[in-house]
Symmetry: C2
Subunit: 247 residues, 2 copies
């Protein structure tokens, strides 16, 4: 409605800056390394001002998480627009998840830290519903594709199986792999040397288990993945180093 004054714009801009700084500190110094004093100093503002934007440290953390969760939901929605068979489109969703993990590695840490410290108070309802709604957007894309698969006859569910179940399993597979992936950074001898190719293969095996055509032996899903990266996420894939121009 009203035009924003210069001051109000500055405040709005500062909120973004706080999130940026918090995100960065979280990433390279962990939850304990993110302190309100250091954030304030990095911005060049006093601590009290930070508290005018965020109720407390957990709230700042949650805001960081909400922002990246929103980005993830957008990536999922873009993935849903990929032109291909239903199973190729589901592959695109997996690719979006992987891309998100590569581009915003801080998000895992933020979510972990939130859940490690919160007894669900401290974090405002606004942030909680924000996170929830992003999750629903992600699931909405996935279940929609699964329903398309059923409609086209690519996916035939057995008694008692639901599209939600299919999507939850895939989600679990990815989340578990991401968790393991940055767990492996801390130990010397990783259980699996290169987790991402393993994840791609296992996700396809999982979909094979549901009998979702085309079976992975009859279609080149790695090639589909390259197409997805090139057509839907060219800029992001290059940033993440996932897209080689050759090949």
């Amino acid at each position: 409605m009203k035009p924003l004054s210069a001051k109000q714009l500055e405040i709005r801009e500062r909120e973004r800056t706080i999130l940026d700084v918090g995100q960065e500190m979280l990433l390279d110094r962990g939850y304990a390394g993110l302190t309100m004093d250091r954030v304030a100093e990095a911005i060049g503002v006093s601590k009290g001002t930070i508290y005018q934007h965020f109720a407390n440290k957990e709230d700042l953390l949650a805001a960081v998480a909400v922002r990246s969760a929103d980005t993830r939901a957008s990536l999922f929605e873009r993935a849903g627009t990929f032109r291909g068979t239903s199973r190729e489109r589901m592959t695109a969703v997996g690719t979006a998840a992987e891309l998100f993990f590569a581009l915003y590695p801080h998000h895992e840490q933020a979510e972990r830290a939130i859940r490690a410290s919160s007894l669900s108070d401290k974090i405002s309802a606004k942030r909680t519903v924000g996170l929830e709604s992003c999750t629903f957007r992600c699931f909405g894309v996935a279940t929609g594709i699964a329903r398309d698969g059923i409609a086209s006859g690519d996916l035939v569910l057995r008694e008692g199986q639901t599209v939600e179940q299919v999507c939850v399993g895939l989600w679990n597979l990815y989340i578990g792999a991401f968790l393991m992936s940055d767990l492996e950074n801390f130990i010397d001898e990783p259980v699996v040397k290169d987790p991402m190719p393993t994840l791609h293969a296992n996700a396809q095996v999982y979909l094979d288990g549901y009998g979702w055509t085309a079976h992975s032996t009859e279609h080149d899903y790695p090639a589909t993945r390259q197409r997805i990266l090139g057509e839907i996420f060219p800029a992001e894939a290059r940033t993440a180093g996932l897209l080689e121009s050759s090949r």
Copy 2:
């Protein structure tokens, strides 16, 4: 070698007590609710004494995690002794994982808290290798069963697939489901109402995808699961409320 004096026994006993108290506090008050002062008070000992057992808070946390990780490895090893087909035995491993999650819910929190705060220093090498070795024991059981499956012809891997890959995927699926499971405790409308049956079904779908005989349409794996609980884990299953005497 030497017989332990009464004092030394007391000290050893106290270490166990500290772990018990720490574990309990972690479970019902979270990482922030676990303070060294409160642990000391609960034991009836001064804070300095706690620091004679553990270098710092993270180290205590890691010790709690190591102890439960060791228990998990034992459960996996017992699961490996189940008499049945290779795939039934792998199902037993999954059942062990589920049982562990139900019996020691604090473990997830401990692992999260460790990774949320540590930049890998603070925690002594002793704890780190302890955790690693427990993980290897778990994977050893699983990969052993997969190799048995290959030897018996129940599991036929395609070009480029490995037993490690099979096991990592299953592990990811479980870890992801557990993570989601206690995430759902904090939000109002869960994505899936009852995560565990979904997990069981998806794990079988995943193994179906690898073509590991017998296919889930040709064998009653829920019944196998009941047998596993009754034969291998009767006491634990009853404690966890997973074993109904009827049926």
